[in-house]
Amino acid sequence: MSKMGTLYAPGNSIFHRMDGSVKMLLFAAWTIATFLFLDLRVFVVMLLVGLGLLLSAKIPFRRIRVIFWVMIVFNVFNTAFILLITPTYGSELTGTSTPVLNIGYNTINLETLFYVLTLTTKYITLLPISLLFIFTTHPSQFASSLNRIGIPYKIAYAVNIAFRYIPDIQSEFRSITNSMQMRGIGFRKGDAPFIQRVKNVTSIAFPMLYSSLQRIEVVSNAMELRGFGKHRRRTWYHMEKYQGIDYLVGTLSILLIAGSIWMKVSVLKGFWYPL
């Protein structure tokens, strides 16, 4: 987490300069394209392009490490469950069955293995573009983008403020647990039986809630005293005029949506299985 308390990683790539709303459009187009297909060829191409874009943004790896591993673990579990629960699902898509491994109650076949590979690639395809969107968009810019695409600015601002308080709440949580531990109240494994630990953690909710309410009161007073909500529209310090790159990427995104719908309807209709 940066000191600003957000996931934003400062930088000066094309993506950092791109308007938040255009990035949202790109993200949406990418997601639509991904979900339309079940074709490994498409995903490999998109994944390579996505990785190229991600590398060009030069986000330090340690910043994205956590999310990266969460995605990988999710995929591993997902794969395992599909293989264990529906080991022959691939056959339903291809109509053939090539047994590979006997797991007692059923047999995993090659079709399912290929299906799982396709599915995993599909999810991973979304990873680079999501990371790009999350780490190169300044939260305030994000709020102004939400407002630009028609979401009322009060709601857009609420999103912004919520992101802002995550680190404050984290540090408060830490200092409260520390003071509780000094009084012998255990939160760690081995300090107390599991049930007691759960109880101890929930008891923190009371002071946390109290201070959150206080925080909300202070910030809403501060906002009101400085004229928040005075007019129906407001301007944004962080809203840039659309640049050439914004129009370009916007157009490409729309082309991507249109193109992938056309492909889906007329060329790559179903599950691609070359074996």
Binding site: K3, M4, G5, T6, H138, P139, S140, I161, R164, D168, E172, S175, I176, N178, S179, M180, Q181, M182, R183, G184, I185, G186, D191, A192, Q196, S203, I204, F206, P207, Y210, S211, Q214, R215, V218, V219, S220, N221, A222, M223, E224, L225, R226, G227, F228, G229, K230, H231, R233, R234, T235, W236, Y237, H238, M239
Partner: protein, 565 residues
């Protein structure tokens, strides 16, 4: 400019009015201090001025309030905020933008100012407060004084002609507080805006010229006058407010004060009049009794620590705390005070050096094990309290230890009696005042029977009266053999209640001595963002031989007075 006439206000949820019969005229360009103990109604009055009452806090209004000659009834909070700019007490809470520039721009954004013009205006406002270099930084990375400059820039940008400061000194170390008052004064001189300051730290506010002081207590205005008039009377003390230390010293020395003595400006004070009385009072002082050497309870030896393995934040700190001693840990924000307390509590471990408790090295003790010997009380009691009832809160630690019910009952009862909370034992904690909650947190820590208690900013958020009560209670506990470390930047607190002071700056101990000598040492004061006490200034102005001796005499004398009260 602002005028209250027979004005009263009662919050919707309360049965009694919080403000009663307020009659006050604030003139254009005036610089006015509204002082009062907690619960006096001074914050409520501030809310009436900036429009939060009645727009956010509802209630019953009587009488009239006019702003620029027009009644505020029927006006929206936005109309009022165009003339009244408010700087709130909670410096962190009031930042809205993620960068300095964005925060200053906030009111422009709400006014729909076009972006190009907004950038220019923001830069101009930041130039006024000398903070332009920080435009892209996060407000949270700034020091307390810088934060205040940024919030001031945010208000200056609104063109409001009245500036309302709600406890501007609350979270600042002494030197930053002094700078903040200077900055307010500069703005006043440059713009001639009307300045209203709500504060109870009167001595610090009066370092700069103030036109009038309004003393509030129990919802009413008790006195309005020039600082000289107010200081020469007994009004402040009578209403539970702290007089400037040098005024106290003059009164202890038996000087007759009058409004003509230029009491507000210490450097111009009427020296011939006070010289004799002060000199003889000083000479009557007996040498302070040196405390007999006791057992060191906590022994910190050459401790070093860094968070990242590269930049050391604690660089070879050593100090001791004796049994029954109260030690002040002083230092500017970011000096390493909190890290040091975390090291003692075991939240982080030192990279080298030793921490001994009663001679035993505690390096490998867990937080919980240390917690049996060392208690820690956070600044804000609301962050420590987890139970609904006082009794349960105090019993919590013992219950978890698995102590038998009878023992717990006996102990909790005993502790509640010591802490003066026994009459409230079956009350819900939410019904208590801030100061009482603070006592509950101490009681809860005492129940664990620690030998040392670390108090983080023990007096924050309390006015003089409650502060004195609370500190007398702590001093009483110290006399039973309990030791305390105060982490604080409140110098009055250090002066009156601690035996010695450890001053930290840049992760090193730069002084470790009696409080009187630390606070009269110019080099230490400078490096640790402290401030010379007005007592030593007085000693110099009068021409007494030793400022340190004078301060020490004052402390001893005050202890005697408090003891007899």
């Amino acid at each position: 400019m602002i005028s209250f006439h027979n004005f009263s206000f009662q919050y919707q949820k309360l049965t009694e009015p919080t403000l009663r019969n307020i009659n006050l005229d604030i003139r254009p360009g005036e610089k006015i201090l509204i002082a009062g103990p907690s619960g006096s109604g001074k914050s409520t009055l501030a809310h009436c001025i900036n429009g939060l009452i009645p727009f956010t806090y509802e209630g019953k209004l009587e009488g009239t309030m006019t702003l620029h000659g027009e009644s505020t009834t029927g006006k929206s909070i936005f109309e009022i905020s165009q003339s009244v700019g408010t700087i709130l007490q909670d410096l962190d809470g009031q930042f809205i933008g993620l960068s300095v520039g964005e925060d200053v721009a906030f009111s422009f954004e709400n006014d729909g100012v076009p972006r190009a013009q907004m950038k220019q205006e923001v830069e101009r406002a930041l130039t006024t407060v000398n903070m332009l270099d920080y435009i892209d930084q996060s407000p949270h990375d700034l020091s307390g004084g810088q934060k205040q400059r940024v919030s001031l820039a945010g208000i200056l940008s609104t063109q409001a002609d009245i500036l309302l400061f709600d406890e501007p000194l609350a979270n600042l170390d002494p030197a930053s507080g002094k700078q903040a008052m200077k900055m307010i004064d500069d703005i006043h001189q440059q713009t001639n805006k009307t300045i209203i300051i709500i504060e109870h730290r009167i001595e610090d506010v009066l370092e700069q010229l103030i036109d009038r002081i309004v003393v509030m207590s129990e919802g009413e205005i008790q006195a309005i006058g020039t600082p000289d008039e107010i200081l020469s009377s007994d009004i402040l003390r009578k209403h539970g407010l702290r007089e400037p230390l040098y005024i106290e010293a003059l009164k202890y020395a038996g000087c007759e004060l009058s409004a003509a003595d230029e009491l507000t400006q210490l450097h111009h004070i009427n020296v011939p009049k006070f010289e004799n009385a002060l000199t003889s009072w000083y000479n009557a002082g007996t040498a302070s009794t040196s405390s007999p050497s006791k057992q060191p309870l906590l022994d910190v030896q050459n401790v070093r620590f860094s968070y990242d393995g590269e930049h050391e934040v604690i660089r070879g700190v050593s100090f001791q705390v004796q049994t029954g001693e109260i030690v002040a840990l002083l230092g500017n924000n970011g000096a390493g005070k909190s890290t040091l307390s975390h090291l003692i509590m075991g939240i982080v471990r030192q990279s080298s050096g030793e921490i001994r408790l009663q001679g035993e090295e505690i390096r490998n003790w867990s937080i919980r094990k240390r917690g049996e010997q060392i208690g820690y009380v956070m600044q804000n009691p609301n962050q420590m309290i987890t139970q609904h009832m006082i009794w349960d809160e105090v019993a919590l630690g013992l219950t978890i230890r698995g102590v038998s019910k009878e023992t717990i009952d006996a102990k909790v009862e005993h502790i509640l009696r010591i802490c003066g909370l026994y009459p409230y034992r079956n009350w819900p904690i939410s019904a208590l005042s801030y100061g009482q909650k603070k006592r509950v947190t101490i009681a809860a820590v005492l129940a664990m029977e620690p030998k040392l208690i670390i108090l983080d900013e023990p007096t924050a958020g309390q006015d003089y009266k409650h502060y004195t009560e609370f500190m007398e209670f702590i001093a009483e506990l110290a006399r039973t053999g309990l030791s305390f470390i105060f982490i604080t930047h409140d110098m009055h607190l250090a002066l009156e209640y601690t035996d010695s002071a450890v001053v930290i700056s840049g992760g090193e101990v730069i002084a470790n001595d009696k409080v009187a000598s630390v606070l009269t040492n110019a080099e230490v004061i400078e490096r640790a963002n402290l401030k010379e006490t007005s007592l030593s200034v007085l000693a110099r102005v009068i021409g007494l031989p030793s400022a340190e001796g004078f301060v020490q005499h004052f402390i001893n004398y005050e202890k005697q007075v408090k003891h007899h009260e």
